[in-house]
């Protein structure tokens, strides 16, 4: 049977990579991709843990709902990015900094 360890490492690395993308990449849409990666990292966790506690479907169900939420976030997020693009003519998050202090 399969071991849990590589899957745990996979989820940890996916999460860290997602975080790195969010902080490093200078494009709002790529930042969005990083967020998707972070969500998927928790999905991997949830499904693996569901195998550890097989009496219910809790983990898998949670994963399903996470996917739904991710879709909603993407939709709203892209809409917001598009509008900001209309005002600022850029999708680089760092250039959008009129509010500060």
């Amino acid at each position: 049977m399969i071991e849990a360890l590589p899957l745990h490492i996979l989820s940890a690395f996916l999460f860290a990579t997602g975080l790195a993308i969010v902080i490093i990449k200078r494009n709002a849409i790529v930042v969005l991709m990083g967020i998707e990666l972070m969500l998927n990292a928790s999905n991997v966790n949830l499904i693996v843990f569901n195998r550890m506690h097989p009496s219910t479907f809790d983990g898998q169900m949670f994963a399903l709902f996470v996917i739904i939420v991710a879709v909603c976030e993407t939709a709203v997020g892209l809409a917001i990015i598009l509008r900001v693009y209309r005002f600022y003519k850029t999708s680089v998050p760092d250039h959008i900094q009129e509010l500060k202090g």
Binding site: L19, I23, K100, G101
Partner: protein, 642 residues
């Protein structure tokens, strides 16, 4: 506990509540009336206060020396804990109630003349009424929590009244300073409330003052005293009081001399058994330091109101010395006499300023109407004011046959009866302050009313209107000895009979002699001082030349000793001591300006420094926000995981 107190009967309750709430009604009326009929306020407000004063008088005479009465009111209940808003009526409370009501009424009356024509008269009388209400609340309430609420309200109305002349930048700054310094003191009060609640589970003074001294009581009473330091303008939080003189003069008379600043001392007297010996020592030290600083500073001032302000600080310090020496009755006595003569002095100063302003407006002259260097010789033009000013000034200086002499006598006795080196030092300090008081009082009277007329010579100065003279007269009459006792040399009169203490005869004689001698010398100093510098008067640089002359003497003592072996030696000696005192006063003023104000600036600077450090993380870049937040989480985790 409660059984030892008589419960209030209907009549007393009505009278006391009327005393408390009539000023509030006056406040409400002043708010409601529209601007067009603002003149109604200047009639209604004094009338309401007169009614309040009458009620206080009735209460005083019907209940004087009767057993204490507790009027119980439940405020709210929180689970099992009952928060009450009880009112306690004792001799102390009745006396204070009467003094506050009377002086507030007199100030109202005086303000009708003084503030006539001011466009914000509605707000002025409203806040004056509100202040009186809050002050009476402090006087009456038996719950520390309720007392704290009124304490805050007093601070708030003072804030608004200091800033009454809203067009003046200084007034705004002064009101802010007063408010902030008071708030700093209030932290102490708040912490005391917490300590009291957690240890005694009650806020009622009659319940918390009993019992043995313990460690928490020391802390709690120290915190409480810190609140008093803020309100009563004690070292190191006293700097707001001189600045508060930016407010209208009647306000200064009411709040910054007679009542509000005395609220701190009153609180000390009220909860006196609560203080532990350690706290009492702290109170004495702080009182002594403040009294000395105030006395010396008063010597170096030229603004008529600032002299009185520093004098107030100094007198408040003396009251605290009395309380610290375990004789709160003496402190109370001085509080009462001080309320009368200081209010009279302030109103007199107000009268001078008022008539000078009037005269300036007629003659189109321009000079600072509060600067004593510009005055002089006013005694011929303002006869009535001069008479009342001299009477109350004599009382301040502690000259026999005046009330101030008796109350200072009581304070001196309280220190005298303490044992040990510490009290000897305190006694010495007290003596110095008494001497200083005479000096600056005489200086004030001399510069304003005696001597030759300087800037005011040509001005058509006229006496103040009758409505302002009445309060002056009443207060001046209240500055004589018979207010305290029938005998002019024994303070154990009708006010003080519950104490068996009497002043030792040597003390009475000694202090009278010292004060009279000082008075004699001060007439010498200032008369000769003016003579020396008569040529400089034209240039308006009196002080600088005076210093130059004196320092010349001080720096060449040998030269002087050989040349002036006759009475000029004495003269020079006096000059030298005056020089030393003035120098010291300047040092104190410098410390006040640089260290205490600097401390406030430092605190503000540190706060804004921390603020800008934190805000530097808020640079507007969202990705920075994310990584700072993530770093914060990581640092948290590392700290906890170790």
């Amino acid at each position: 506990m409660e059984d030892s107190f008589q419960h209030a009967h209907g009549f007393l309750q009505t009278v006391v509540l009327l005393t408390l709430f009539l000023p509030l009604i006056s406040f409400a009326l002043s708010i409601i009336i529209s601007y067009r009929y603002a003149w109604i306020v200047s009639i209604s407000a004094p009338l309401f206060l007169l009614a309040s004063a009458v009620c206080a008088t009735i209460a005083l005479f019907s209940q004087w020396n009767a057993p204490d009465v507790l009027m119980k009111f439940n405020w709210f209940t929180l689970g099992k804990d009952v928060f009450s808003a009880d009112l306690l009526i004792s001799n102390l409370v009745l006396l204070m109630l009467f003094v506050v009501a009377l002086i507030s009424f007199l100030v109202h009356l005086y303000s009708v003349g003084y503030m006539a024509g001011d466009k914000n008269i509605k707000r002025y009388f409203a806040m004056l009424g509100f202040f009186t209400f809050s002050m009476q609340g402090i006087v009456l309430s038996d719950s520390l929590l309720v007392l704290f609420v009124f304490w805050e309200l007093v601070g708030f109305s003072s804030y608004l009244l200091i800033g009454h002349y809203s067009e003046s930048i200084n007034a705004g700054r002064a009101s802010k300073k007063a408010f902030i310094l008071n708030r700093i003191g209030d932290i102490g009060f708040l912490v005391c409330l917490m300590l009291v609640w957690s240890n005694q589970h009650s806020f009622n003074i009659i319940e918390i003052v009993g019992g043995e001294p313990s460690e928490w009581k020391t802390y709690a009473s120290l915190c409480l005293f810190f609140g008093v330091v803020g309100k009563s303008a004690q070292f190191p939080l006293f700097t707001w009081l001189p600045d508060a003189m930016e407010g209208p003069t009647p306000v200064s008379a009411l709040m910054h001399a007679a009542t509000m600043v005395a609220a701190g001392v009153y609180l000390v007297i009220k909860v006196f058994p609560f203080f532990t010996p350690v706290t009492l020592e702290v109170i004495t030290i702080i009182g002594l330091v403040t009294a000395l600083i105030g006395g010396f500073s008063a010597l170096a001032q030229f603004d008529i109101k600032k002299i009185l302000a520093y004098s107030t600080i100094s007198q408040l310090g003396l009251m605290l010395i009395g309380a610290g020496a375990s004789m709160p009755e003496a402190a109370l006595l001085h509080l009462l006499t001080h309320a009368f003569f200081k209010a009279c002095l302030f109103l007199g100063a107000g009268a001078v300023i008022h008539s000078l302003h009037q005269a300036q407006r007629q003659a189109h002259a321009h000079f600072d109407a509060q600067d004593i260097r510009c005055m002089g010789g006013l005694s011929k033009k303002l006869r009535w004011t001069f008479a009342t000013f001299v009477v109350s000034g004599a009382s301040l200086a502690g000259i026999p046959f005046f009330s101030g002499f008796l109350s200072k006598e009581a304070l001196l006795t309280s220190v005298w009866m303490q044992q040990g080196y510490f009290s000897a030092i305190v006694f010495l300090g007290f003596a110095i302050v008494s001497v200083l008081t005479v000096l600056y009082t005489y200086r004030l009277v001399y510069f304003v009313f005696l001597g030759e007329s300087r800037m005011v010579k040509e001005l058509p100065v006229t006496e103040i209107p009758l409505i302002m003279r009445i309060p002056l007269t009443i207060l001046a009459v209240g500055s004589f000895w018979f207010v305290v006792s029938w005998s002019p040399f024994d303070f154990s009169g009708w006010l003080f009979e519950y104490s068996k203490t009497r002043a030792p005869i040597e003390l009475t004689i000694g202090s009278s002699v010292i004060i009279l001698v000082t008075l004699f010398f001060s007439t010498k100093i200032y008369r000769s001082g003016v003579a020396h510098t008569s040529d400089v008067l034209r240039n308006g640089f009196y002080v600088d030349s005076f210093y130059n002359k004196v320092s010349l003497y001080a720096l060449t003592p040998i030269y002087r000793a050989t040349l002036f072996l006759d009475r000029k030696v004495i003269d020079g000696g006096i000059h030298f001591s005056v020089y030393a005192q003035v120098t010291f006063a300047h040092v104190v003023a410098w410390v006040d300006r640089q260290i205490v104000d600097g401390l406030v600036h430092l605190v503000a600077g540190v706060a804004s420094g921390i603020g800008s450090l934190i805000r530097s993380f808020q640079g507007g870049k969202i990705q920075h926000y994310v990584y700072w937040a993530v770093f914060a989480i990581i640092i948290f985790l590392i700290c906890v995981l170790k």
